[in-house]
Symmetry: C2
Subunit: 367 residues, 2 copies
């Protein structure tokens, strides 16, 4: 194997493929990054079995071939090289030389044949969506996945294709996050993607309008970004039927300024944190929302203007769950809907149904 | 006590005084910040006994008085308030109210009489120096203090006033850092300031040409920045007579480009790190410096142009010690002086004597 590649391009490709390399794998080969030089292209693959990322970069191939090198060390070496062209070629049986200006590294490599094959996926493309929109949908749901493994299915995000819409849903027993977007596909699909995988996918998706093509198989999802393909295993099992959890009616509807509400809750939570409970209380009145909290060190009272339709209400929350939601919402104004002091609160958009968040209240003896 | 103060000004003052509050003190009062309202000024003091920081801020004092409040919570509350004026007044016997627009906090306070008095220092000002220069001198030496406590005196930086110069010196048995600057004072002073303290001092010193006045007493150093005074306890004991360590002669003198040398060493150290030794070897030739390192995963050879006067030499180093020094130096070109492969290397400036760094080599059996 022998090729020449621009340092910058190579570094970028490594940083993409590396996102699938956990470095904690019991299989030494999976701490490596797979390099294959062929047809004027260098292909790089990183994998931890659950997640595999393949990316391609243009290179001057002088001799075809494939090897696997330690991902971390190789990445650090390329990153530290001067901004110039890098020559990489095999020497002896088990080493490569990396030459860039007056730097020369010799690095042992592993056998490319030992690297696991990528799952074979028939790319009968199911639908495509803007990378930016998908990135926002992932960020807008992933914080609500379960952190503990007692119900593994809840450590993933549901991708639901139905009625020409893509819905992403995450829930952990205390809150639920739902983001929706229209897509040009009338199939019905339910697949749950591990949260760990989606975190890496979100990092790779671009901020612009380029699209990503998504394909499902019974066990995998493939994100095709053009030069880069991301393949993730799906979580096994049935996701919770989340529609049954979303309340259809409410007794109180509040319109509030998002930024002001977030600021008030964050200040109130300073006191709530001291008591280690994160407990804050809402007193929803005709024109005012009064938020209070207390701890051994003191008390706080926050007041803000709202518009209330329906009944006045007192209800208590874990402030963390509300802050998580409000931080992720871009809108200036939001709607909060309540049924009672022991029923979930719904947070949604004034005009459209791009998102619905649900947060369970904390039940108090004397509310 | 009752005063009104701009939120921004108050926040800034808290963040300065807080730098002396460690939050781990066995005395609860030292987790507090002392506030005293008097004569149109609010005085804030934080202290962990070793280090005390007092700062003043203009405020509208409506009722004089002093209290102590929990430093962390008070700081977080003020930081999160809207950018407006803040009213703070005592209520009952043991609480203050903090009011800002529609936010109202009640916070218990401690008794100001319990707060330790600042050491009484007679400010017969010894010398003044630009804050920016002192900040750079601290940053340029503090990395070389000893990390372990076996010789406590080495966990501090020596402030030596002699021959109308201020010298800062730190050493840890493997390397030595010396920074010098002319001052307008012909006293002779030796004082060792705890590294922990100097870290905080460096954060507070500004980047511009404003000066700081420095006073020494047998047990303390006072940095007077005008609105802010920092008082630190000195370390007890004699500092090592560092002049005896600095070699006066050399057999090889190398002139090198600093940035290129740093890059070469950083790349070589990637391989050195893998072997957990950080060991890199210099082969100093007439016109070239060749830096090599190796580990189980491979080898690296770096080459750069230098100007050598004197004998060719082979010598080995712990790369970390060289990187620490080169990162802190601003100059384009530097001088390295060597006597033998088992003698210390001196790194200094081409033209002036603002700094001298010394790094011990690693002794190899077969160099």
């Amino acid at each position: 194997m022998k090729f020449i590649c621009a340092k910058n391009k190579l570094q970028e490709a490594i940083s993409i493929a590396q996102k699938a390399v956990t470095g904690k794998s019991p299989m030494p080969i999976l701490q490596g990054i797979y390099l294959s030089a062929k047809n004027d292209q260098l292909t790089l693959i990183g994998s931890d079995i659950d997640l595999s990322i393949e990316t391609k970069v243009v290179a001057e191939i002088q001799e075809e071939g494939s090897i696997v090198v330690d991902s971390k060390l190789f990445g650090e070496i390329i990153r530290k090289l001067p901004n110039s062209s890098v020559e990489i070629h095999t020497v002896d049986n088990n080493s490569i030389e990396i030459i860039c200006e007056k730097s020369k590294f010799t690095l042992i490599h592993m056998d490319a044949d030992e690297f696991p094959n990528l799952p074979n996926i028939n790319e009968n493309m199911i639908f495509s969506i803007s990378q930016k929109i998908l990135k926002n949908m992932i960020k807008g749901t992933i914080f609500a996945i379960a952190q503990d493994e007692t119900r593994p299915i809840l450590t993933g995000v549901l991708f639901e294709v139905t009625d020409e819409k893509l819905n992403l849903v995450a829930l952990d027993g205390y809150r639920l996050a739902l983001r929706s977007n229209n897509i040009d596909n009338d199939n019905t699909i339910n697949a749950v993607i591990p949260g760990k995988t989606l975190n890496e996918v979100a990092k790779i998706l671009s901020e612009d309008e380029e699209s990503v093509k998504i394909t499902f198989t019974p066990n995998h999802i493939l994100f095709n970004l053009g030069q880069t393909k991301i393949i993730s295993r799906l979580l096994e099992g049935e996701f919770i039927r989340y529609n049954a959890i979303l309340p259809e009616e409410f007794n109180s509807q509040v319109i509030a300024k998002k930024a002001e509400l977030l600021n008030c809750i964050e200040r109130a939570s300073l006191m709530a944190k001291e008591g280690n409970t994160n407990l804050i209380k809402f007193d929803i009145k005709e024109e005012n929302l009064i938020i209070t909290s207390n701890s051994q060190l003191g008390t706080v009272v926050e007041e803000m203007n709202i518009i209330l339709q329906g009944e006045e209400l007192q209800i208590a929350f874990n402030s963390k769950y509300l802050i998580d939601v409000l931080k992720i919402i871009d809108d200036e104004e939001i709607i909060l809907e309540f049924s009672s002091s022991v029923s979930p609160c719904i947070i949604k958009n004034k005009e459209n149904s791009k998102y619905i968040y649900l947060v369970l209240p904390v039940r108090l003896l004397n509310v």
